[in-house]
Symmetry: C2
Subunit: 356 residues, 2 copies
Amino acid sequence: MTGLLGSMPATIYEVAQKAGVGIGTVSRVLNNSSQISPQTRARVLQVIDKLNYQPHAMAQGLARKKSLTIAALMPFFTGHFYVELLKGIQQATARHKYDLILYSIEDLHDKDFYLKRALQQRRVDGVLLVSLPLSDAYAKEFQRRKLPLVLVDTSHADFDSFTVNNQSGAHAAVQHLIRLGHKRLAMITGHRESKPAQLRYTGFRRALAEAGIKLPEGLLISSDTLSGESITLNDGFNKETGYRAMQKLLQLNGIRPTAVFVASDIQALGAMQAMQESGLRVPEDMALVGFDDIELAEYVGLTTIKQPMFQMGQRAVERLMALINDPNSPRQHRRIETELIIRDSCGAKKEIKHKH
Amino acid sequence: MTGLLGSMPATIYEVAQKAGVGIGTVSRVLNNSSQISPQTRARVLQVIDKLNYQPHAMAQGLARKKSLTIAALMPFFTGHFYVELLKGIQQATARHKYDLILYSIEDLHDKDFYLKRALQQRRVDGVLLVSLPLSDAYAKEFQRRKLPLVLVDTSHADFDSFTVNNQSGAHAAVQHLIRLGHKRLAMITGHRESKPAQLRYTGFRRALAEAGIKLPEGLLISSDTLSGESITLNDGFNKETGYRAMQKLLQLNGIRPTAVFVASDIQALGAMQAMQESGLRVPEDMALVGFDDIELAEYVGLTTIKQPMFQMGQRAVERLMALINDPNSPRQHRRIETELIIRDSCGAKKEIKHKH
DNA sequence: ATGAAAGCGCTAACAC
DNA sequence: GTGTTAGCGCTTTCAT
């Protein structure tokens, strides 16, 4: 039927010809333009269907100056956090019938390269920048090009952003401990220069202050005050720092805390190991709350703060789509609230445990 | 300098004009064509650099009938396996200077939709289909269109594929147990209809046969012979089936096995839980080997079979690129070998343990 | 070696 | 309403 051209996909010309109309008409029904007589529209649609015609994405993109594609630049997968985020992004993108190009950033050189690519070459309709700081040079570039940009887990005054509310998350964690009756609390966290570490610390202090509890000396342990090989890894949020920090806490006789807020689950795991080696049990000897809700947290029954990354990914895409459709939509900086996941590491006092 | 057009990216025309050459010439240096005088080439390159010019991907794609993009269709992330795979895919794709469009398949309707999209809209130069069976209808379609396709973790006679060698992996796992001196072995696995389950079983049998060991009745437990809610989940590879299967094994007095090969780590976790509840210890009371090397495996010290997904992703992309460059390249069905990761769940006999 | 011109498949402005 | 035509930004003959 399709003759010699049978193996090549149909073009708008063939559709037009078979339907006995001009290509403009076909284009119109494709974009379901305002006024087309129902008859011709039906006829064209029929041919389209018969030829199994689908418009050529690049030709459309070129003519329309739109790609129906967005790019996500993200550091590749340090676990759960990014996987969930990517899922959310992917799903929302698909729902809008957009394609998602994934650029993974392993070092800062990559970032530049891909940013440039997204900006100039690939002409995506919008970009999502995840966890990476946006330099002023690129900020200007995005503005000049009027290319919609949404930041996720990072921020910049001039662009829309979605970040986790670290402070209120930490606050909720500590409040939970306090509600359970704990009065002598400690905190283990990452490097003091780390922004999340700072915010989580603020939340911790705030919760203590509200309960009229003060933090004795030595009950706050930041990674950078420790010694050890991998101390600097991942902003101090790693198993070894958790382990060493807990060892330090355990040496505190007399003022040993009854509960500790560990600013990351991975550190909490290290802390648990240290406790175990000292013959101490969680939560009997010491209650623990983590932060992140990594996969292992569920397995070991660690009560923790979950960051709703899936949702964050979705919302970021929704926002990006809104910006694509209305570039003048006012800037929004959204702070996503966390969720307290209660498991076994704090024991139960007046609380009902939610077992998963 | 760029005047009113300053906010739009430069085109090949502007480059040509500023360099005092025709657009054809610019195009030639862009594609570093054979013969261009070093001088003009230098001059053009200089202008390109000054204008910060980068070719427009869609225009190039349209003219060249190539998109420099591939698509990966995959069921979205059931953990580690897919994350590693995606990392490998992403990295190899980037190395070839291709872009990666990610289509996530949540149900079979998605699969159809995206397959059609990739196939007809000519957005991509090749596709990677992961873990999903390819229907004959689409197989024909890919052939007709001559669109390069590589299957990963799934296969079809007519297309290149990369799959894990389930059989030899299982064989290695069981051989390990046998070398450790175990003579009474059992196996816990997923549904009997599951292809991986079948292959792993074959590997198990082969290892036993080679050692002259026979499998007494009742020492092979498939998920579909169990009862319980989530028994059917994920082809029977889930925690509950592992748990129940182990319970069943534990009821076997007299012929209780000293070691069991569990065909998935997640089931091994369930099995361990059942043992723990019965006051039994791993490996003292029973040795365990899993399959998959999920994240938790390391945490609980489970000896297991690792599937090198990162590598598989990379190789699949390499193959796809080869096909894109030479569509007539002969078909290859690659079987990727697994790796035995020795941890603590088998104890040590004559073996040296590799501790991670 | 290089300029001119004809597409690539589509959209959109312009006629009628 | 619908056909015609001029681009979109590039590659690629075809001349020269």
